[in-house]
Symmetry: D2
Subunit: 396 residues, 4 copies
């Protein structure tokens, strides 16, 4: 498992989680792959996973773990227990490639690793080659059968899609011309060229570009994304189908998200927030079948909350006889503790798909994403059924 | 359509709703049968429905409509518009049979119609015959092709199930012996004997008894129930599958309901509340697969709310790494405006099933009930899918 | 009583409210002046009030009343009952002066009365004279002892304060030079020149300028403002003192407001919203004694809510032993029904002060405002105590 | 400081809190006595406090601390740091007297210390003497100037007040006759006879009996109570005055409390809950001046919450024009972390009052209690002002 953003809060939770599970000291709460019927698939056992990754920020996983411990996410006993595994992961981390606009000094630029800054100065083609070499080295040195690359990096600034990104030829030209490419797409290119399966847990462009979808198909590699459906959006897409089935008319759906971790800090910048909002918005209109639905999603940086994301949603709806009603909910959850088990599930499912020779967008994983690359619906329950059908096919 | 509880808040909303829809002055918001794919079934047009029913309380539908208007449920213009239809319905209402314990003076005994009190003094066999005759007269006088009886009466006091209720023979004996039988079951018996299809929208025993299920099958009649899934329970059974699919561990699920209408007043009595709570409780444990789940459902009578039920649910759950999280929601809705379109849907579906010669528990209607007679799951989305499958079969 | 914004939602509620109260058909709920000890002051009886005002929008109060009736704010019976009073008020309404930036086509410019648009073309000095003449005519024609002018107009776009506004001489020069002046300050100037007491219920500049405070003192007239404390801010300033007294450390206080009336539409424009947010923000930092407090106030336009403002506040705080706790509240109220009784209270208090020969900022009315012109505290309970002390002094 | 319930969650928090403060390793968040103007009184410095107490349950403070640490109330570092102080306190704890009904096997009877059970078998007079001797020994052995006894025991079962409890003579007779007396009153009697000041932080009878108020006055000792105002009731009594001042008509105020600690377990028993509810109920009716107010307080035992009490309140109110509005709030806080700083404040204030020779009910402490023995109002802000006035008098 190669994590992009290898010392971030989610990666740190994944590293400690996998170690705790492998040692039998943690229960697999939050992991659908640990429960029937998914558990009956021949998924890779957690003990056999090896972790490493790319990281642009300086610091160590020990510091990240300490912060999560202080904020009540990682239990002190687990941090103590898995110190060796954390250190081993840390040793396998290589300098990553910062996204262009972030280098320019916006949010997230502080605390960049000098090696990453240097790497960023290299031409695009060279950067990609370097990332690919890191992944190939990882596989060779650790004697791994397969590698799954997971993008867990911070949200990148929003950019309009470029025509050149739509075909692999165009992308290769852009690489040679050293034009601005999202860092996430460089990682994706490198991963696919290195023959790795790919999971994009972020709202970044990554492999959603036509060019890279083409590359994945060409190489026969499975990949999935975009943007992990961990909290408020999960609840939204679980509730909205109820309104649709009951033929209730949703008049307005307002959502307010507050978070205080690094992700929150990055999203305080409007250009970065834009990338996130696009993903959070689209589901409701599609499930409710109302393209003109009044819906807004706010994201605010509230430092005191750290990793404990708190969201309030207000649904104003009309029932029979014109009666005006409402449903409101407050969600309070640790972002990292919600994301980590989904990442582990996806790694196992991507590895399973790669072993089975499946390639292209893994549409059966749509229930894991805010903006699935394939799968055709945002309705969580339909997405989940699709995953169950996949499992049934593979168990038959 | 023969409504038991023919001047209650739900019946009043149904009467005005059907009239408003038939006149094209109301939109069918909240009615799944008005939307694809259900709308493509050959359901009975609303203009052809004739309404009447049984009622134990004195008063008129005009008074009931006025109260709903004052509380913001029925629009003043609609009440004005449908005065004729309401009067016609009122004229078809016949005295009903109060439930035994209610006669004894508990909640609900005030305001009983003298004719109903007198009827209650007759032996059980005679009461049943009288109810049956009313339904048969209704069909004959109005020259109706089919009758659907809908139970909308107030919640009855809780009673343990009697062995005699399990078989039709036992039930007939109980009728002859004049032992205490739930009024709702008398209505159900009368309806089925009169050849009517049956919908139980209440938590009362009605046709859930083995004896009456047997009678329905014997007569080849479709029926469904129990207890309309209108508000808080709807949300619960739409949300709980999300926790199950994500393998999150629900630690506690507390629900507090407040309502101020007649239903609320009746439920303020512990014996009546018991009937309701049994239905509200069972779904969660089954969906979450945790028979030991800590869950409680409170129901409080708050007169100032009238028909505007307000519920707060608190879900405490554990995620990965032992992190404790929560989801809480507040639901505010008009009980009658939520129930009425479901009643209309069910009438049309029961009529359709009767026309198609289907008999027994209508398992495809499970999504409409807190405690479905058949259908095998409380998961709202699975129930809904089952209804869609039924529709597909009938459209094929 | 001369209302600026004479056909807006608040004015319409005031007109119907005063008429209903005078006819003894409405209870004075929400009016502190109707309760002891304020009721013991020799305040002007409601029957003796005469209403009129300025308005920039076309339309009639009948249309405004109809809209409020449809949205469940004004009871149909009251609208019916007070048709004469509403018509009489309507007949006394004169064209107002739109604020400069609004004329330029921003939010609020649609639906302007042609007479108002024409008036806007006149030089500032002439506009002021015209407004003053209207008020003087009103007093003369209706043979009134005193006039109280109340500003209820929509929020104006934010403008930095100009040095010229600080002194009366500067203001007079600006008038002559026809430079951009907030319309609210033109009204205030006209009111004071006409010898009227003044209430600013809006967040607009109005009489908060040094120039106009000077004018009020010079003319011996009482005035008060700014921005009625009707809902979320009221709750905030009632709760925050509790945290301060208990020495609990507030870490973050986030507030999200949603509203769908004309005020909401105007506030959807960032320049207008800025005026409002400044007023909503300042109280907390001052009560909690923490100038660096993390606090944000969101205002969103949600048309389906109409007049029913809904706000959610989240207070994150630290207690003993570093424990992190939270308080969250949801406020749902009709903006107009909350504002109208405060307006009536303030009219009576301003009239009382004028009769008593008191001049300048009425600091005893601080509890009515988000941003009181005087009074020295935002703590609602201290402000309320100050009002009680004023009453005691006048009853002694 | 002599704590009754010396190894309970609050006592454990007090012990660690005082130690952490004395070592300068904790900030006095939540302690009004640490802030101006109270901090300017000559209160006893925290370093000079010595702690001990009575306890009926077996176990150690180390176990209690561990549980609080696991539930995120006590920081691990603080527990580590204050191990010596905790051990010293533990060594000073003596067997307490269980309340009669609890001995009989109801909630709370499990886990009783054998020494306490034995003590409970002694006649009432002897039990009181033994408690008194413990307190006197504590003072002598530790060479203390003064002792303040604080009752932090679990809620006792509700009992009607007995005529004998009204006068000291009656109480002495009851002691001799060995009739059923609340354990809390035995402690109070013992404390006052030992010359100690007394704080009743529980809803138990304690020194609220006429007999013991008489004893306190006779001995010239200050005392205060009943029932610490820590959470939901605090918010209620801070908000209700706002509705009263604004002349808004509260129609219903429903409160639902959930808690999962030992206190919650004890309150799951109806007889014990009754004691608590009486205290939570009375404030609202008095502040709102409506003796017929519809208000209910629910208390539910939700084990998964442990010390993290969560409460939801729903306030339904009417404004001007008959408009129906609502305010709802959710409070989430650690019961122990909220209570501990109030206990420390009260110890210092009681000690200060004793040093100043003040005797009887300390009416200036009303803001600390749900059901103050004196002070005349439940309005938190008036209570707080009364405390400030007391401070001013003593600083003058």
């Amino acid at each position: 498992v190669w994590l992009v953003g290898a010392r971030g809060a989610i990666a740190t939770s994944v590293v400690h989680g996998v170690a705790g599970l492998a040692r039998g000291r943690l229960e697999p709460v939050g992991m659908a792959t640990a429960r029937d019927p998914l558990a009956r698939l021949a998924l890779r056992p957690l003990e056999s996973l090896v972790l490493g990754g790319h990281e642009v920020a300086s610091g160590s996983i020990a510091t990240a773990a300490e912060e999560l411990e202080r904020n009540g996410v990682l239990p002190a006993t687990l941090v103590e227990l898995c110190r060796d595994e954390a250190r081993a992961h840390d040793a396998r981390v290589r300098p990553g490639v910062p996204d262009g606009p972030d280098l320019a000094g916006v949010a997230g630029a502080d605390g960049l690793d000098p090696a990453s800054i240097e790497l960023a100065r290299a031409p695009a083609r060279e950067r990609a080659a370097r990332l690919q070499a890191d992944i190939e080295d990882f596989r060779r040195v650790e004697r791994l059968e397969r590698v799954v690359v997971v993008n867990l990096a911070s949200t990148e600034a929003w950019r309009e899609e470029q025509p050149a990104w739509r075909s692999l030829d165009g992308f290769e030209e852009a690489l040679d011309g050293d034009t601005d490419l999202p860092a996430s797409s460089l990682y994706a290119y490198a991963a696919l060229r290195a023959g790795a399966a790919l999971v994009n847990f972020t709202p970044n462009r990554c492999a959603s570009l036509g060019a890279l979808r083409e590359l994945a198909r060409e190489r026969g590699l499975p990949h999935c994304g975009d943007d992990g459906k961990t909290g408020e959006t999960l609840v939204k897409t679980a509730l909205a189908p109820m309104f649709a089935a009951r033929a209730l008319r949703v008049l307005s759906w307002q959502g307010y998200n507050m978070l205080g971790n690094r992700d929150g800090r990055v999203l305080a910048d409007p250009a970065h927030r834009e990338s996130k909002r696009r993903h959070k918005d689209e589901g409701l209109r599609s499930i409710l079948g109302d393209p003109a639905l009044h819906t807004e999603v706010g994201i605010d940086y509230v430092p005191s909350l750290h990793d404990w994301k708190t969201a309030w949603d207000f649904v104003h709806f009309e029932g029979f006889l014109g009666a005006r009603m409402s449903l409101q909910f407050t969600w309070t959850g640790s972002d990292s503790a919600l994301a980590a088990p989904l990442v582990i599930d996806l790694v196992r499912l991507a590895d399973f798909a790669a072993a089975a020779g499946e390639s292209g967008e893994m549409e059966h994983t749509a229930c894991y994403f805010k903006s699935p690359l394939a799968g055709g619906t945002h309705d969580f329950h339909r997405q989940w059924r699709r995953l169950l059908e996949y499992v049934e096919r593979h168990l038959a």
